[in-house]
């Protein structure tokens, strides 16, 4: 299964002297575009007013998008690995921008179901393929700093909403929010993202075979976090390590969604006193903005730190301190606003970091061979958490509100559940060990090590 011509792997093997620092912008041009899915909420009110979509209906394009992201990453992961990143980025751009064009047509004719199909299903396939498209390539270019490399790309996915939220609001101000205005907005987004993502398609390169950066050649024997023995995706999913990490990712994401899902209402319930209603709304918007920044920056900062500290230790931090953070929110309630803000910033930075660090963790466990495909399969944990998190938080909060509970007590039980989930994930993380290599790989590795020892001795 090889792609041919312009999109093939052979056409994108880098020449001598090609800078590896050109690969992160290629990856970011894909992730910044597809990350716009997180800004979907800006369309909910216009769709409600113009197409008479219910709250549930107007949320479906986003929900389908995230669920299809996980499924398509799992289904197409092996194809992405075999056909290469340019093919994957091209397909991702085509599906994502094509989905926006279908949504534009649907808005024009006033068909909400077609917006769901276009944005959620067709666009969702683009999200899944685009999300995993640069991951293994980045780690091959940065074997000395895989956490930082994937942190860059996955920070882009968090950062995509920062751009899309004000930009799409501005487009709707220009074009209006009637059917034609919404259609023009979706169409403009599809066209601009197509141009934006094309840079990534053109720029991405694979390292030549046997290439490694100078820093790795000199420091390899001291490298504390070497790649694990190569495993195929089918072999990896039969190991307990894969499923332990699946639980870790799923519960870490679920815990982050515990805050993200209802960030503005949580702020208003914790700190309801403000000079005016407008001031409270502005403060809640500031809180949401600050969490978005923490989510995005946590991806690059903590993931980069994992290259020095180790992946397992970083997840101990995300999960252990995360559990303590939720506990602090339950116990301290609204006694201290600075404490509340610091804890929420940390929780959201750990949420983002969980996504960004996991590809390098997979590399540590299963090697480079099919790390993109394995990552794709692991993202089903995200889809699961995307359903689980909102259900837990919304169901409990709605129930407490119906019971007449006010203030921070509305979230006590959902936060307590988050503490338990994080502790389970912490236990799973402790159980993860690098799997033993298959016998043939072990023999090969022994042979390589003997050869390299001889070469060093000869040198």
């Amino acid at each position: 299964m090889q792609s041919v011509g312009f999109l093939s792997r052979d056409r994108i093997v880098a020449d001598v002297g090609w800078s590896r620092w050109l690969v992160p912008p290629a990856a970011l041009s894909i992730h910044l575009a597809i990350g716009s899915v997180y800004a979907w909420s800006v369309f909910k009110l216009p769709l409600h007013e113009t197409l008479k979509a219910s709250g549930l209906q107007s949320a479906l394009p986003f929900t389908f998008g995230i669920v299809i992201l996980g499924i398509s990453a799992a289904v197409f992961g092996t194809a992405v690995e075999k056909r290469g990143p340019r093919w994957a980025m091209f397909v991702a751009a085509t599906c994502f921008c094509g989905g926006l064009c279908v949504a534009a047509f649907a808005a024009e004719i006033g068909q909400m179901w077609l917006i769901i199909v276009g944005y959620g299903v067709i666009g969702g396939i683009g999200l899944g393929i685009g999300y995993i498209s640069p991951v293994s390539t980045l780690m091959k270019w940065f074997p000395d700093r895989p956490g930082m490399a994937t942190g860059f790309a996955i920070m882009g996915f968090g950062g995509g909403a920062l751009i899309a939220s004000p930009w799409s609001s501005q487009l709707m101000k220009w074009f209006g929010t009637d059917r034609q205005g919404l259609a023009a907005t979706f169409l403009a987004m599809g066209a601009v993202y197509a141009v934006f993502m094309t840079m990534g398609v053109l720029l991405v390169r694979l390292p030549p075979p046997e290439w490694e950066p100078a820093v790795v050649r000199t420091a390899a024997p001291k490298s504390p976090h070497a790649a694990g023995p190569d495993r195929t995706a089918n072999e990896a999913i039969k190991t307990p390590q894969f499923w332990l990490l699946w639980v870790v990712l799923c519960f870490n994401v679920t815990a982050g969604i515990g805050i993200l899902e209802r960030a503005a209402p949580i702020y208003r319930d914790y700190f309801p006193h403000a000079p005016s209603k407008a001031a409270l709304t502005a403060a809640a918007a500031g809180f949401v903005a600050m969490l978005s920044l923490a989510n995005s920056l946590g991806r690059i900062i903590w993931s980069s730190a994992s290259d020095a500290v180790g992946r397992k230790n970083m997840y101990r931090l995300y999960l252990g301190v995360g559990a303590v953070g939720y506990l602090a929110l339950i116990l301290a309630q609204n006694a201290s606003k600075p404490l509340f803000l610091v804890v929420c910033i940390l929780l959201l930075s750990f949420y983002g970091a969980g996504f960004a660090t996991v590809p390098a963790y997979l590399r540590d466990l299963f090697g480079y061979q099919e790390v993109g495909a394995i990552h794709g399969r692991l993202l089903t944990a995200w889809s699961t958490a995307g359903v689980l998190g909102p259900v837990i938080v919304n169901a409990i909060a709605d129930n407490r509100i119906a019971a007449g509970v006010v203030g921070p007590d509305r979230y006590r039980w959902s936060f307590a559940i988050m503490v338990v989930l994080l502790l389970i994930a912490l236990a799973c993380n402790e159980l993860i060990r690098t799997p033993q290599p298959p016998i043939s790989v072990a023999a090969e590795t022994d042979a390589r090590e003997s050869a390299s020892v001889s070469a060093v001795e000869e040198g």
Partner: protein, 41 residues
């Protein structure tokens, strides 16, 4: 293989980082201006 020294690479590097950096900076700016309201009262 040595690290890059090709001048074309440097130009391409600057352009590609600007390509993604400019919209990202716009997004971060739009977000940061909302944060002071959080500490206004």
């Amino acid at each position: 293989m040595s690290e890059p020294s090709n001048p074309n690479n440097k130009v391409l590097g600057v352009l590609s980082w600007l390509w993604i950096g400019m919209p990202f900076t716009y997004g971060v700016y739009e977000l940061v201006v909302k944060i002071p309201a959080l500490f206004a009262n």
